[in-house]
Symmetry: C2
C-alpha cells in the first residue's frame, strides 16, 4: 500500500521537544529540556484522598459518559473562581473543559481557520501550539519579542499586511520559551489593535499562578468588552499535567463551535480528573497550595540563576524572569547554537535549541531554552556546570 | 465582533444524540436513546483498588506528563493481547492509545483526508464518527446495509465512482445503530475490494466483546496482509467510557502521522486511566469480567426483545441481534417516524430518530434506535410499553 497523507499533515513533524523528551528518558542524561512541573509540586496526598472518596461515594459518575462541555460542578466552580479572582469571563462568555490546554489551541484553530489563514504569534513561541496551528494548514507569522512582550509596531504592520489573520496567539505571563511577561501597557495596546482590525486573541496562561516575584498584571481577557479574547487556562502546572485538564473561557458563539468540534475529537474529557480538580478547588486550600508552588519555583529559579551567573556568565546571557518554568539563554555571536546543543547532548545534558520555537525552524537563532522545574537541584547543578565547561572551552 | 467560522465547521451541528442525552437527563424521562454501558457493568471495586495502589506506589507516574503514543506497559500488553487473542496486529503495525475511540476517527481523518475527499460508510452508521469525518470537510457516501452487512455491489460501485475515496468506515460487529454483524464472506470481500481499489479500511470494533449469542467472526484486520486496515478498539464498553481510553492498531506510516496529530490535539491521553486499564488487564480476571458483561447484556437484550414482541409487534419490526447495545426498529409504511419520536418524547420516552445516523439527515427513514443497556429493567419495561401504546393508538 502506498500511503498518501492530507496536505495539512504532509510536512508536519513530531515536536522537537517531545522527541528530545524521549532521548532525555535515558537516566544518565540530565534533562533541562522538559516543561514538566516539579514532581514535588503535585498534591499527591490530596489527590489520593479525593480519588478514594470518588470511588467510595460516587463511582458511576466518574466512570460513565459525561457532557462534552465538561463536568458541570467544575465548570460552575471555575466560572466563579476566574471571575472573582481574575475578572476573567463575561456573561457573554462560556467555559469549556478540555483535555489539557493543548486542546483549546486545537479546537479554536479548527473552528476559525481555513487552510491558508494566518495566525500571528510571538516569535519565539510554544512549539506545541505552533504545531497545532500548522496541523490545520494555518500560516504562521511571527511577531518579534521585546523585553516587555510582543513588539506592537510589528504587530500592527502584520495586521495591516495580513487580511487573512484570524487570531493573535500570546502567552502573556512568563512566556514559553523566553520567560518574558507582557506589560500592562502592551496588553492594552494588543487589545486595541485586535479590536481595530477585528481579529481574535488567543490568550494562553498556563503559568500565571507561578509568579514568584513582582506584581500580577491583569490578563488581556480581563480587558475584553467586545468578545475578542479566548482565554486558555490549565491545571497542568498547578495540579497535574498527566490528568490533562484545561479550559477555555470564550465568547459563546466560539464556545459553541468548539463544543461541536470536541464532540468529534474525544466526546468529553476524562471525568475522574475533572472531579478531582473540582474537589481540590472547593474543599482543599488551593491558595495555600499555590503559595507552596511559588515557593518551590522561587527556590529552583534562584538556584538556576545563581548557577547561570557562576558558570555561563559572561559568555551566555539570559532574560530576567518573575515566574514560570523557563530561562532563555543566548549564546555569543559566532557560536553555532545547534552545534552547541548537540555537543551538550553528547556530554549528557539536554536543552532545547531555540529555533524549535520559531515560526520557521530554519531561521538563524542564538538561543536555547533551559527548564529548571523538572531537574533536581543536583541535576540542575550538574547540567549547568557542564554547559559552563562547554562554553568556556569554546570561548578559550 | 462578527464571528466567522472555518468552512469545515460552518455547517456542523451538535450531535443529535448528545443533544437528546441532555434532554434525557430529566429524571422523569425514560431514556432509550443513550449508548452508555449498564452502570452495573463497571468493575468499580477493581478500579477503586487499582487507583488506590497507583497513588500508594507510583503517584508521580500517574500525574506527570507522559508519552503521546501511550503508557508503554499498556501498549505492550494490548499488543500481545490483541495478537494472541484476536490475531490483530502485524509487525508492520503499531499501537496508539487514544482519548476514546472517537479520537481514532479524528486522527485518521485528519491524517489522510483533504477537504472534499470521500469516506465510504455504512448507511446508517454511528453519528459520532460521521460528524468527525464531516468536521474535516470529508464528503460522506453511504453504502446500504443488508442483513449480513454492507452491500458489496453498492460498495464496489462507489469505489468505482469515487476516485477521492480515502477509507471505508465499518463497524462489523453489532453495528451502531442497526445491530447488524457483517458475515465473514463479506469481510473477505470488503478486504479484497479495498485492496483492489487501494483504499484504506477503518474498522471500528467497540462492541466486539459484547457477543451474547452465535459465533465470533474474525475481524477484517485479522485478514490484513497489505497494511490496509486501521483497527479501532475501546475500553468504553468493557471497562468505563468516562475514562476515555481507546486505541488504534495501524500500519506504521499511518501510526506515525496520527501520533504527530495527537501531539497537537491533547499531547497524550490521561495517564491514570491508562494505568488502571493496564493493571485491570494484567492482574485481574479480564475474561471472567467479559463473561459477566455478556451475561448482563444477554439478559437485558432478552428482556428488550420480549418487550418488543409483546408491545411493538406486529406493527414495528426489528433486526435480530447477537450482541452489542442496540435494537433497530422500523415503523410501518405510512407512519411518520420523526412525528412518532416527537410524540414519544412528549410521553416521556426518548429514542433516537434513525435519520440522525444517515449521511444526509434529510433523507427519508422509517427506523429509530433503542438502547437496552442503560435503562433499568423497570425503565425498559415502562419505555417500550409507552412506545407500544403509541403505535397501537396510531394504527387503530
Amino acid at each position: 500500500m502506498e500511503y498518501t497523507f492530507s496536505k495539512r499533515v504532509q510536512t508536519l513533524k513530531p515536536s522537537a521537544i517531545r522527541e528530545i523528551f524521549k532521548y532525555a528518558a535515558d537516566p544518565t542524561v540530565v534533562s533541562l529540556s522538559a516543561g514538566n512541573p516539579a514532581p514535588e509540586a503535585f498534591p499527591v496526598k490530596a489527590i489520593e484522598e479525593i480519588s478514594a472518596r470518588i470511588f467510595r461515594e460516587n463511582p458511576i459518575a466518574a466512570l460513565q459518559y459525561s457532557f462534552t462541555e465538561g463536568y458541570p460542578a467544575l465548570r460552575d466552580t471555575l466560572r466563579t473562581y476566574m471571575k472573582t479572582r481574575h475578572n476573567v469571563g463575561q456573561d457573554s462568555d462560556d467555559i469549556l473543559i478540555t483535555s489539557g490546554a493543548q486542546q483549546v489551541m486545537d479546537l479554536l484553530t479548527k473552528s476559525v481557520c481555513d487552510e491558508g489563514d494566518v495566525v500571528l504569534c510571538e516569535a519565539p513561541s510554544f512549539i506545541g501550539s505552533l504545531n497545532t496551528f500548522r496541523s490545520y494548514n494555518a500560516r504562521l507569522r511571527g511577531i518579534p519579542m521585546d523585553p516587555d512582550g510582543m513588539n506592537m509596531e510589528a504587530l500592527e504592520k502584520a495586521l495591516q499586511e495580513e487580511p487573512r489573520a484570524r487570531f493573535i496567539y500570546t502567552i502573556p505571563n512568563f512566556q514559553n520559551p523566553t520567560g518574558i511577561t507582557m506589560s500592562l501597557e502592551k496588553r492594552r495596546r494588543l487589545y486595541e489593535l485586535a479590536k481595530k482590525y477585528q481579529v481574535l486573541i488567543l490568550e494562553d496562561n498556563p503559568y500565571g499562578d507561578l509568579r514568584f516575584a513582582g506584581e500580577s498584571i491583569p490578563s488581556v481577557k480581563s480587558l475584553d468588552q467586545d468578545g475578542l479574547v479566548v482565554y486558555c487556562g490549565s491545571f497542568s502546572k498547578v495540579i497535574s499535567p498527566g490528568m490533562r485538564v484545561g479550559y477555555a473561557i470564550a465568547p459563546k458563539p466560539l464556545f459553541q463551535k468548539m463544543v461541536v468540534c470536541k464532540q468529534g475529537s474525544d466526546v468529553h474529557t476524562n471525568i475522574w480528573s475533572q472531579m478531582v480538580c473540582h474537589t481540590f478547588l472547593t474543599e482543599y486550600d488551593f491558595d495555600a497550595h499555590l503559595a507552596g508552588l511559588r515557593e518551590i519555583y522561587k527556590k529552583k529559579s534562584a538556584l538556576a540563576v545563581s548557577l547561570l551567573e557562576e558558570h555561563l556568565a559572561p559568555y551566555i546571557k539570559w532574560e530576567p524572569i518573575e515566574g514560570g518554568l523557563f530561562l532563555w539563554c543566548t549564546l555569543p555571536d559566532g557560536v553555532n547554537m545547534p552545534e552547541f546543543c548537540k555537543e551538550a547532548v553528547l556530554r549528557k545534558v539536554c536543552v532545547v535549541p531555540g529555533n524549535a520555537f520559531l515560526t520557521d525552524e530554519s531561521l538563524p537563532c542564538q538561543s536555547f531554552r533551559i527548564n529548571f522545574s523538572t531537574p533536581t537541584d543536583e541535576q540542575l547543578t550538574k547540567g549547568i556546570r557542564i554547559l559552563g565547561d562547554l562554553i568556556r572551552e569554546w570561548m578559550a
